[in-house]
Symmetry: C2
Subunit: 310 residues, 2 copies
């Protein structure tokens, strides 16, 4: 076959968010050795960028209170292991461990900035300014998450110009990459294209962007396809589809890494991921979490044996 | 917004397959009045083509043994109500009721032709020949379902040339439309494009084609987007995502009509469907079937109330 098609990239970098974004809202605390094993298995399956944890105050995200202990258990893992930092205190904790890839978490809307950060958008950017500057001075790369890029549970559809404005400011602060988040999963492919075109028009090209889609309305993979067609080569996904926005309208969450890899394999786009090993990892993690993976691919591949008995 | 995009159609016809394809493998027989009410509600939600039933021998599909009784209950439903016919006997039953839109169900692979029809591909086409001829003589349109167009559970990937060959023969028999089925859900967007381009090269244009995707690996909506970008304007879907191939590797089945409508609404493509009424219908049907809808959009929209209480 003649894949990949002319309008598609040869290679995609998957930014695996399962250990951080996937686990952060789990009510039952996952033991640190299980998290470390999860990350190790993800790396063994071929994932090369795995967001490991967040250096957030334990009061806000008890699940990730073990960030230092977890990082200490990850020596030798052959993957980039970026971490989220909410503020200067979190950044210093990460830098002290030698971490040189960090991420900050911003919002395109005032309502979500208030709900998630207890600040206005301006105030949150002012808070990020010294964090990004200090990180860059220390030689770290800085990913900016920009949430609610398409719709907001309180404000409805988010104007593209508003998203472009906040994106521009995050780059001006010194962010090296921006991850465009459809936090409540309402985006559709034309909206994705429109945002990417508008960002391009203000000088933000696709090679500095990642996309982060949620599957609340089943749109995540179609939106990803649309983003790839617009030149994006970094895609966020969560092994097994774990995690999800607590503000979204149902339990479905992140784009499942397996569903993404299935599509990319079919498109002839190299990811370096061994789908069977990744699926086995997600089945193992689902057992720990006590409920089946929401990933269609995980469900289908893990039913292979029962199928063959038919 | 500037939707629909230049490369997208203004309007899509949804071929709703829930009452036939969605219900045919249900083990518990759904009462005929419930089926009639289902179809009536689908029409009230704005669906204009609803495949109602199959005039198959009751021994093979007990669930659809009530075809005549059901059709008699559908007077006044404002929608096209095509039916599946497996053979000449089934066709005569349908024609006797005044039905003038029928469908036959073929296979692109020998293995599935054998498993589903107990015939070779040649033998099945020979069986369809008088059915299609008689239907056309009676003034009926004839949809040809072509299953296993991408992969086959016994044969693996299906060569595009093989699919094109069987497709060509179905049109030569007199079929007026062909529905390309990814019966086990393994297709990916580049494969879809390649098949549509190859069909175009032998004179089968997209306006005579429909696509019929299954969501077994989460690919159905991305594949649909790819088909729309290649000019297809008829899309098969099943309300609530009910139904699925018994040969596929997990329980997930047809592309959910609601997930499709969510995407098309976002793309500014007219479908005439009222998403809230459709979702309410799928929730109602899920109650009858005794399990939740697999559609992400149905789950999200039907959780709206509980969200607002948060």
């Amino acid at each position: 076959m003649a894949f990949p098609a002319d309008d598609m990239p040869d290679r995609i970098r998957i930014h695996e968010v399962g250990p951080r974004d996937g686990l952060q809202n789990e009510k039952t605390v996952v033991p640190t050795p299980v998290k470390a094993e999860f990350i190790r298995r993800l790396a063994d399956a071929g994932l090369r960028t795995i967001e490991a944890t967040s250096f957030v105050h334990p009061k806000w995200v008890p699940q990730l209170a073990d960030a230092e202990r977890l990082m200490a258990m990850l020596d030798g893992v052959e993957a980039r292991l970026p971490v989220l930092v909410p503020n200067e205190r979190g950044l210093e904790r990460a830098l002290a461990l030698g971490v040189r890839e960090i991420a900050v978490f911003g919002s395109a809307t005032e309502s979500f900035a208030k709900a998630n950060l207890n600040r206005s958008v301006d105030e949150s950017l002012a808070m990020f300014e010294p964090v990004v500057a200090r990180a860059r001075d220390a030689g770290a790369s800085v990913r900016g998450y920009l949430s609610m890029c398409f719709g907001d549970p309180w404000e409805g559809p988010v104007p593209v110009a508003q998203v472009v404005g906040v994106a521009r400011r995050l780059f001006d602060l010194g962010c090296t990459e921006l991850s465009l988040g459809d936090t409540i999963g309402v985006a559709t492919p034309g909206h994705v294209t429109e945002l990417l075109v508008s960002l391009h028009q203000v000088g933000i090209s696709a090679d500095h962007l990642a996309v982060h889609f949620h599957d609340t309305y089943g749109q995540a993979l179609a939106n990803t396809l649309s983003a790839l067609q617009s030149g994006v080569t970094t895609v966020d996904a969560s092994a097994g589809g774990i995690g999800g926005c607590p503000y979204a309208k149902s339990a479905t969450g992140n784009l499942a890494t397996e569903d993404l890899v299935w599509m990319l394999n079919g498109l002839g786009i190299d990811t370096g991921v061994d789908l069977d090993r990744l699926t086995a990892t997600s089945v193992w993690m689902a057992d720990h979490l006590g409920r089946p993976s929401p990933s269609r691919t995980v469900r289908a591949l893990s039913h292979e044996d029962s199928h063959e008995e038919q």
